[in-house]
């Protein structure tokens, strides 16, 4: 991209040629980026994943739908619905579905727990968004940056934190006991899974919603108020409609993630609560590819169906906006205290208690575990282990510093990749044409495909490569990792940026175009600035996805010097969890700092 219009250029003939060249390039920039994005997706996602998914319909060389038919008619997977697929009368099936001892099947149960997890994540995420978007207090920006931290934690860390917090002998029961209340047995229940999913995803809902709230134009609210609307009325009529798309974005993404959930369900729930992904994982591991691929496709179709439904809603319910002068923030601790001021703050105080138990206590427990020795006393031995491994580890072993360095490099690279990719897809899918929502949903596929299937696909498609005219072309190592991470992260940029772009007043863009600005120039100078908080939020998510990514990294890392922090954590898991938790705390600190830096780089939003 070329620099801005400032400065003395364009003088004389050579300047004019340069400028016209630049203009032409700029005019084509969008097309170029779109082509590059599609190529990257095909090479590092659609083709590799396709090599696996095709096994569902190609069994022993023949094309068949038999595998699907069998799964759809299997009550183990589809519960009562399986009978529908098997040809039974819909009325009888509906009657049994309404009865209390209905069978959900694995697929039905997976959807059920995902719906509960989504509700919990929204319930826990919205108050945080309210606090971050509407109140001013010391450390607000840092807190906003840190909200995404839970998103990157490996499941073993969350398991450690949850056992220490919600376990039989955990912190929560100790507190309840001290208050004279009976203990709760949370672990190994559906509730434990739902809370763990909220731990991961409420931050997502909060961050996306905060970005939208910060883009609400204060003038619209002021107009409503001046026309006589009360503050509540103004909220419902003006602010809320601008938040729904973001809240639904968060909810839809949460559903998709928790629908494909894997290790955490078995770590905190147990096999009686197994989800589809558990079975896909086992089938892939046993090389039963036909059934694994069929299940993965079913999982994908359901996830994309949810995304598509959401996208249709989003398209119908966009609120036009012309700009963004954000609402002024209120002080969290007001000087005077009236009932109207106290009520929301009491609500927030109650929220702090809940958030403290669900988010802070598990993280505090992880940190505590990293400084606790076998005898229960405080110690730094686990951190000494990290230093020791750094100094004496063999070349083929994973050492902490290279892992930190690689994580940061890969995440930076992946973010810088994901941003243009995401913006281009967001621009293309907010244009008006038939089927654009289908394109949009397909562009979201990297979020919805089973992780283990992606891993196997990358192995086949990139690491083993393909034969072209006697040459075997392979893609592996650092560049491939960055590419895979960018593809995993770019849908976040799309999902945070697109609702805002969709809502922009077209006349702004048309006037800019009429004044001679290229399409790329309009995006850069008009559209993106108007949705800037969403761009920064998307960048932070892309970074977070890369930092937390595991499957693609271990598949594509061809030597010990391409490993990242999550890989190091996994490597340091032993019978004692100290070394792994110490590395986990390093991950926590490094990513926390990175998020602060990203949001500072992105700048605080001050409108256009």
């Amino acid at each position: 991209m070329s620099d801005g219009p400032h400065g003395p250029h364009g003088r004389g003939g050579r300047g004019r040629i340069r400028r016209s060249l630049r203009d032409r390039l700029e005019g084509r920039l969008l097309t170029l980026l779109a082509v590059a994005t599609s190529a990257a997706l095909v090479v590092a996602f659609y083709y590799p994943v396709g090599t696996v998914l095709v096994e569902a319909v190609r069994v022993d060389g023949a094309v068949t739908l038999g595998v699907f038919a069998e799964i759809l008619r299997d009550p183990f997977y589809f519960g009562e619905l399986a009978r529908l697929f098997a040809g039974e009368s819909p009325i009888a099936v509906a009657r049994d579905l309404a009865s209390p001892d209905r069978r959900l099947g694995i697929v039905g149960f997976t959807a059920y727990q995902a719906a509960l997890s989504t509700a919990a994540s929204v319930a826990l995420g919205l108050p945080a968004a309210y606090l971050l978007a509407r109140f001013e207090f010391p450390g607000r920006r840092t807190l906003r940056s840190l909200t995404i931290v839970p998103f990157v934690l490996p499941s073993i860390m969350v398991a450690v934190g949850f056992v220490a917090t919600f376990g039989r002998n955990g912190t929560l029961n100790a507190v309840l006991g001290a208050l004279g209340l009976p203990p709760v047995d949370l672990l190994f229940t559906l509730e434990a899974i739902v809370i763990a999913h909220a731990f991961y995803n409420a931050p997502l809902v909060a961050r996306v919603t905060t970005a939208a709230w910060e883009s609400v134009d204060a003038r619209a609210v002021e107009t409503a108020r001046s026309l006589g609307a009360g503050p509540l009325r103004a909220f419902y009529d003006v602010v809320a409609p601008q938040l729904y798309p973001a809240v639904l974005t968060g909810a839809a993404l949460t559903f998709v993630f928790t629908f494909g959930t894997f290790p955490i369900v078995l770590a905190l729930g147990g096999f009686q609560l197994a989800t589809i992904e558990v079975f896909i994982y086992r089938l892939v591991r046993d090389l039963s590819y036909a059934e694994a691929a069929a299940l993965a496709i079913i999982e994908l179709v359901i996830s994309l169906g949810v995304l598509l439904a959401y996208l249709r809603y989003e398209a119908r319910n966009t609120v036009r906006s012309r700009g963004a002068r954000p609402l002024p923030r209120k002080p969290l601790f007001p000087a005077a205290s009236t009932a109207r001021q106290i009520l929301p703050r009491v609500g927030l105080a109650a929220y702090f208690v809940v958030a403290g138990v669900i988010f802070l206590a598990p993280i505090a427990s992880m940190i505590l575990a990293s400084v606790t020795g076998a005898d229960g006393a405080l110690t730094l031995e686990h951190y000494r282990f990290l230093l020791d491994r750094q100094q004496t580890g063999a070349a083929f072993q994973v050492r902490p510093w290279p892992a930190i360095r690689n994580s940061l490099l890969f995440a930076t690279g992946a973010t810088l990749f994901a941003l243009p990719m995401g913006v281009v897809v967001a621009v293309l899918t907010t244009r008006r044409y038939r089927g654009r929502k289908l394109v949009d949903a397909a562009a979201m596929a990297p979020l919805a495909v089973s992780g283990i299937v992606v891993g196997l696909g990358l192995l086949r498609g990139l690491v083993f490569g393909i034969e072209v005219a006697g040459w075997r072309v392979t893609v592996a190592g650092s560049v491939a990792i960055v590419l895979a991470h960018a593809i995993a992260g770019y849908p976040f940029v799309v999902r945070t940026v697109a609702p805002g772009l969709e809502g922009l007043d077209r006349s702004l863009i048309e006037s800019a175009r009429a004044l001679g600005a290229s399409r790329a120039r309009v995006i850069r100078d008009v559209e993106l600035p108007l949705v800037w908080p969403a761009v920064v939020a998307g960048a932070a998510f892309a970074f977070a996805i890369s930092i937390g990514e595991f499957t693609a990294t271990v598949v594509l890392a061809t030597s010990a010097d391409a490993y990242t922090m999550p890989v190091a954590i996994e490597r340091f898991i032993g019978r004692r969890l100290g070394p792994a938790t110490a590395m986990g705390v390093v991950l926590l600190v490094v990513t926390g700092l990175s998020f602060v830096v990203i949001e500072r780089l992105g700048g605080e939003h001050r409108g256009l």
Binding site: M1, F109, R282, A394, L528, A562, R576
Partner: protein, 414 residues
């Protein structure tokens, strides 16, 4: 655009617009650079210019473009040959101890060869995939597969992945009952036993499988998902051995009751509140946190506990019916190995008494040979059952997936 802003507002606006531009320009530039890097990356070995022969794709693994330029083009007459040994990651990299480093140093100091470890994430499945994709094997020996892995390999591949072991020194010292390959490819180098580990300050674990169904042990046991964890699978196999797999099955249970099979036992176990978590780590974390006093784990648990200075009373071992499920680990030469002779020398080396002792201690397992040199205190802490049980290759063939999927369907049916 707005009409009511102050001078500072304007300044901030300019500044933030400036950052925005830099942010975007940076993104664009980085994207372009990375794209270029990516396409340059795609060139790789042009070792063969004719059709897909079997030994063409040697250079694949170093697609990274870095480091190890292999010397196999001239099959290394003057140069030091490289032996590529594939294994699972904890064999070479674990937070406590692992045999990898010692083995490499020792082997290289005694043989004129360089030992290079390869630890693909998918372990043996990676090589099955490579063979199926005609991508070349690119390793000489695999260390660390089980009977069940071997069954899966043979089910998946028409051609042999491994060659026959052939003449290996020390093979006759391998203990009775550990040899698990009817086709004599796999050579066992160590074994583990899956047993119960319990906190003696909380409970006294039962001595029989039936004892786990007692009311006093309700909710006391944590096991692992047999579909995703080696210990979970071994424990499931042990229950199949004990109770059989039903009237239509192939295994007659040791309990002698044809009407009560392993699924009936698991139904009772589930009624008594057994927890089946995902991985060994999940289970051990929950057990360490005091969620339940008994966990399915390895019989070497006290070795770790003593090493960490923990109370051994809290790390008691129980062998149900005086048995434990044995999980011998094997090694074999790839049929496609570039250095087959060196690979066999390596396997003989692995069976030497001193090396066997080191492997057992560093992998925290039991030696495969009865000539291994082990210190007495290790023998005391690492407990062996009086009656190890296991399934043979023939028994596992054709049964494993059914045992597991039947168990899954019963346990998770909702």
């Amino acid at each position: 655009m707005t009409d009511d802003e102050t001078a500072t507002d304007q300044r901030v606006r300019r500044l933030s617009r400036h950052t925005r531009r830099r942010f975007l320009a940076l993104g664009g530039a980085a994207g372009a650079v990375a794209l270029a890097g990516c396409s340059a990356e795609q060139t790789d070995d042009g070792a063969a210019d004719d059709e897909s022969g079997d030994d063409e794709a040697d250079g694949d693994r170093s697609g990274d473009g870095s480091s190890d330029n292999e010397s196999d083009d001239g099959s290394g007459d003057e140069e030091t040959p490289t032996l590529t040994v594939a294994t699972y990651t904890s064999f070479i990299d674990a937070p406590s101890v692992s045999p990898g480093e010692w083995l490499k140093d020792e082997f290289e100091s005694r043989f004129d060869a360089e030992l290079e470890w390869a630890t693909p994430d998918n372990e043996i499945n990676y090589y099955i995939e490579r063979a199926q994709s005609d991508a070349g094997i690119d390793a000489d020996v695999y260390v660390g597969f089980t009977t069940e892995d071997l069954v899966r390999i043979d089910e998946q591949l028409d051609d042999d992945l491994f060659a026959e072991a052939g003449d290996i020194d020390g093979l006759d010292a391998v203990r009775n009952g550990l040899l698990f390959d009817p086709a004599d490819r796999a050579v066992p180098y160590d074994t583990g036993y899956v047993s119960l580990v319990y906190d003696g300050t909380e409970t006294e674990a039962p001595e029989t499988f039936e004892g786990l169904l007692d009311e006093e042990h309700a909710g006391a046991l944590i096991a692992q998902n047999p579909g995703g964890s080696a210990t979970g699978r071994a424990f499931l196999f042990h229950t199949v051995r004990q109770f059989g797999d039903g009237p239509d099955g192939v295994v007659e249970g040791e309990d002698g009751d044809a009407d009560y099979d392993y699924l009936d036992y698991w139904a009772d176990l589930q009624d008594n509140g057994v927890r089946v978590l995902g991985s060994w780590e999940d289970a051990y974390t929950a057990w360490s946190g005091g969620e339940a006093p008994i966990v399915v784990s390895y019989s070497t648990d006290q070795v770790f506990a003593a090493d960490a200075g923990e109370d051994l009373e809290k790390h008691q071992i129980r062998f149900l019916n005086d048995q434990a499920y044995a999980t011998p680990e094997g090694m074999a030469v790839f049929a496609d190995a570039d250095e087959p002779a060196l690979a066999r020398e390596f396997m003989s080396f692995m069976l030497e008494p001193a090396v066997q002792g080191e492997i057992a201690q560093r992998n925290v397992a039991f030696p495969a040979t009865d000539t291994a040199e082990l210190p007495d205190d290790y023998r005391e802490l690492a407990q062996e059952p009086t009656d190890p049980v296991t399934f043979t290759y023939d028994e596992l063939q054709g049964s494993v997936s059914e045992w597991i999927s039947d168990w899954e369907r019963q346990y998770a049916g909702n």
